[in-house]
Symmetry: C2
Subunit: 256 residues, 2 copies
C-alpha cells in the first residue's frame, strides 16, 4: 500500500508546491507510481505539471462537494508515472461550503481509501492556511513534510504549525508524524540563511533534511513551461538538489 505525505506550512510562498511537485516528479522518473493531489485553489501544482485547469471536466472541488469520486478526477501529466488530482479556483469556497458538513475532516481520507494500493507514494500539496483543506490533508496523511524558507518571517509560524499537527494527531489521525523539514531557497552568500537554519535546528535537531534547496532561477522558470525540473532542466542546481532530496526521502521512508 502507499504512504501518504502532506506538504504543509501556513506561511505563504515557502516552496510547498515546488517541493511536492519535484519530489513527486523524481519519484515518478525513477519508476515509482505517484499520485499528486492539488488542494490549493490557486492550482499551482496543477500548472506545474502541465495540466490546463481551464479545460478540466472535474477537480478536487467536485470530490469535496460529492460530485465526483477521486478516481474520476485523476488525470495524467507531463510524466508517465505521475498522476494528478487537479484543483480549480472554486476550491477557495470549500471552507464555507463544508462548514456544516459532518465528518468534513475525513472527506479526503475516505476518498483515498480505495486507491491506496494503486500508488507507491501519494503527495498532497496544501494551501497557505490551516483551514479545512489542510486539516483534510493532515487527517489523510501518514507523514507531514514542512518546507521552510530560509528567511526570518518563515520561523514565526512553525510553532503554530506543530501545534496544529499535534491537535490533528490527538483528535483526527493518531498515526500522523512529522517526516521532516526541508530548508528551501537557501542563499549561502547571505548571513540570514545560515542564521535561520541554526534557529530551526535548535528547535528541531533531528528533523531537518540534510539536503538544502538553493535559490535557483531555473526552479522558478520551470512552472511557466508546465514541467517539473527533471524534464525542464535536469542539470540545474535546483534539479540536482531535488534529486538528492528525493533520494534522502527514500532513505528516510525505508527507515520508518
Amino acid at each position: 500500500t502507499s504512504t501518504i505525505y502532506a506538504f504543509a506550512n501556513q506561511k505563504g510562498g515557502v516552496g510547498k508546491t515546488t517541493t511536492a511537485v519535484n519530489i513527486g516528479a523524481f519519484l515518478a522518473w525513477q519508476g515509482r507510481r505517484v499520485l499528486l493531489i492539488d488542494l490549493d485553489a490557486q492550482g499551482n501544482a496543477t500548472a506545474s505539471v502541465g495540466v490546463d485547469r481551464f479545460t478540466l471536466a472535474a477537480s478536487t472541488y467536485d470530490m469535496f462537494m460529492g460530485g465526483a469520486t477521486l478516481r474520476e478526477i485523476l488525470t495524467s501529466t507531463a510524466l508517465a508515472q505521475l498522476t494528478l488530482a487537479p484543483s480549480v479556483s472554486m476550491l477557495a469556497g470549500a471552507e464555507v461550503e463544508l462548514a456544516s458538513v459532518s465528518e468534513r475532516e475525513f472527506i479526503l481520507r475516505n476518498a483515498l481509501a480505495p486507491l491506496r494500493d494503486e500508488f507507491d507514494h501519494i503527495l498532497i500539496d496544501c494551501p497557505p492556511s490551516l483551514g479545512i483543506l489542510t486539516v483534510n490533508a493532515l487527517s489523510a496523511a501518514d507523514f507531514v513534510i514542512v518546507p521552510v524558507q530560509c528567511e526570518y518571517l518563515a520561523l514565526e509560524g512553525l510553532a503554530q504549525l506543530m501545534q496544529t499537527i499535534s491537535l490533528v494527531r490527538e483528535n483526527l489521525n493518531p498515526r500522523l508524524e512529522l517526516f521532516g523539514l526541508v530548508m528551501t531557497m537557501f542563499d549561502p552568500r547571505a548571513r540570514l540563511g545560515a542564521q535561520v537554519i541554526q534557529e530551526v535546528r535548535a528547535h528541531f535537531p533531528n528533523e531537518i533534511f540534510e539536503t538544502y534547496i538553493p535559490r535557483n532561477v531555473r526552479v522558478a522558470e520551470a512552472p511557466s513551461f508546465g514541467e517539473p525540473l527533471v524534464k525542464f532542466d535536469i542539470h540545474s542546481r535546483g534539479a540536482e538538489a531535488y534529486e538528492k532530496l528525493t533520494n534522502e526521502f527514500l532513505m528516510r521512508e525505508a527507515r520508518v
Copy 2:
C-alpha cells in the same frame, strides 16, 4: 477622514506584509498618522514593527470575537506615528468561529468607523487566502493594493483575486477600487522577472505602480530586528524603492 487600503493577494509570500509595513512606516516617518492592522494569524506585520505577540493583552482576534473594541487593542510601535492593531495565532480559527455570525463580513468595517478621523491612512495586511478575514478587509477598504511577486506562479491567481474584488464591490462594498499592483522581488538579471511584468502589464495596462521593488536581502533581514526599513537601513536598495513607492502612493492618492 482617513483612506483605508487592503493589501491582498491569496498567493503566498508575494510581499503583502513587507509592502504594508514599509509603506506604512515611510508615511509615518513623513509625519502622517498611520494605523496598520494585522489580519494574518502568523503575525508577521506585528513582528515586523517590533511588537511582541506573546505579551499582548488583546489583539484583532478579540475584536472579531467581540471581546474588545478596536481602540482597546491598539498599540504603539518602533515608529512614533505608526499605530498597530496586532494579531495572534488564535486568529487562524476565525474562519470557523465566525461561520454562523450574522454580518460577519462587516465586523472590521464597523469597528473602524469610530476611529477613521484619528488617522490619515489605515493599512490592512491580509493573510494568503480569500476567506472571511480578507473579505472583512475588502469590505472595510476604499482601495486594494495587490503586491505581485515577479514570478510565474504569482500570475495564476490574479484573475481569481480580481473576481473576488468584483464580488465584494457588487455585494458588500460598492466603493471598493483597485488602487494598483506593486511588482515585488524584481531581479533585473533574470529574464523571468521582465516576462512576468510584461504579462501583468498586458492585463493591467494602467494599474501597475512605476516603482518596482527589487529583491534585496536587507528587506528580508529587517523583520528579524523588528524594524521597518526606514529604521533598519534607510540607504539600502529596498528602502530607497519603498520610499519612492510611498511617494508614488501619495501622488496617486491625491489624484483619486
